[in-house]
């Protein structure tokens, strides 16, 4: 498997959530977000970005990977 094969969905826009001013919580996930993620700020910290009212990522595999490291309590190597 070459580098080009890594992370299917690279450069493909995935909408993780949307601002919804009519909702009680002001924001709703689309179901594309990884299981266990509920804070949009955390999503941004992990590489997602706001495009208007949409919270998107263009590298879903990497985003999921980043979140799994946080969720599973792995520490980044500090070296």
């Amino acid at each position: 498997m070459g580098v080009d094969d890594w992370g299917g969905g690279l450069n493909q826009k995935v909408v993780l959530g949307r601002r919804d001013p009519l909702s009680w919580v002001g924001f709703q996930w689309t179901g594309e977000e990884p299981e266990g993620l509920n804070d949009p700020k955390q999503a941004v910290a992990l590489g997602a970005e706001w495009e208007g009212d949409e919270l998107v990522t263009y590298n879903k595999p990497s985003f999921d990977h980043n979140f799994s490291r946080v969720r599973d309590g792995w520490m980044e190597d500090s070296d």
Binding site: P21, S23, V25, G36, N38
Partner: protein, 370 residues
Amino acid sequence: MAQGITPEKLISPPSQGTGMYKGGSNIDDRFGADTPAEEFAELSDPLRDIPDDLEVDAQKLIQDTKVKEVLHQLNTELVALENVKERISEIAHLLLVDRLRRSIGLEAEPPTLHMSFTGNPGTGKTTVASKMGQILWKLGYVRKGHVVTASRDDLVGQYVGHTAPKTREVIKRAMGGVLFIDEAYNIYRLDNERDYGQETVEMLLEVMENDRQDLVVVMAGYRDKMDRFFSDVPGISSRIAHHVDFPDYSAEELLDIGRMMLDSQRYQFSGDAEKAFQDYLQIRLTRPHFANGRSVRNALDRARMRQAIRLYDSVEKGRKLTKKDLVTIEAEDILQSRVFDDLHQTGSDNGEAKANSKPRAKAGAGKGKK
């Protein structure tokens, strides 16, 4: 004990609404401190800025939420449970109208939607919780609408310092959706002062009050035990707005459930099989450990297994199978159930059962039969 829980916190007023209308916000900026009280009250009333004849595009908002589809699903996929459907529908209407109100800037406090589901096993509590999650998500009450099921073992630890992280982890997973606590009364053991369940209860109380906009807690279990639990822990009871009772199903309703389950899996009863299943249900209802819909599902799973063995045997004998063979549950697939054993032994009038039954060992269904 959970950190940071004080009696003041538990009785603190709910957080303010988060509506989009900002016309009435920041009153102090618009009026000087010397504005007379009456005038201030009148001018600060947000209703004053919204014309009475302001139209709301209700149709579009209702269409956008697609809540009708979920309610329709609830009605068609759930047999009986009319009171449950009615209550869920009421909640959906409340949230829908709240959404309409918010679209023109009418704020209100978020309604409390924590619920208790009482009823015997297999009456549809988990299924309804799952549908409820979808409705809450579609109507913007929670961010995700998923359901996390937990019981005492998932929440309460076995030694000092073990409980809080366990409970916190479950709550964290459930945030944005529904936390379904099965047999909730097991969390708290009143007779044991050292029981760590108390810590879980306190943490739950805190999130039920402070995070009620993004988490709905559903406590489920047998009705009598839940009643006792609520009287032992009044703080929980007072935070639960909706008590929904799930009645047992009648034999006829269970047969409907069975038909629906088979249909969803592309199976069907033959005429004789349906009659046999009716007989099965009548007997099974009187036996111990009957669990309503769950017992129906288990019985059908076993019938499918017997059908598979029957079909395999017939292929071995050189018979060709058709689609009809593959989708049809025959009477003998039902009548081999252990439930009919008493009838067999007493030479009952169910002659068909005897005639169609294979020796159990050959049917391969000796284990797990009921």
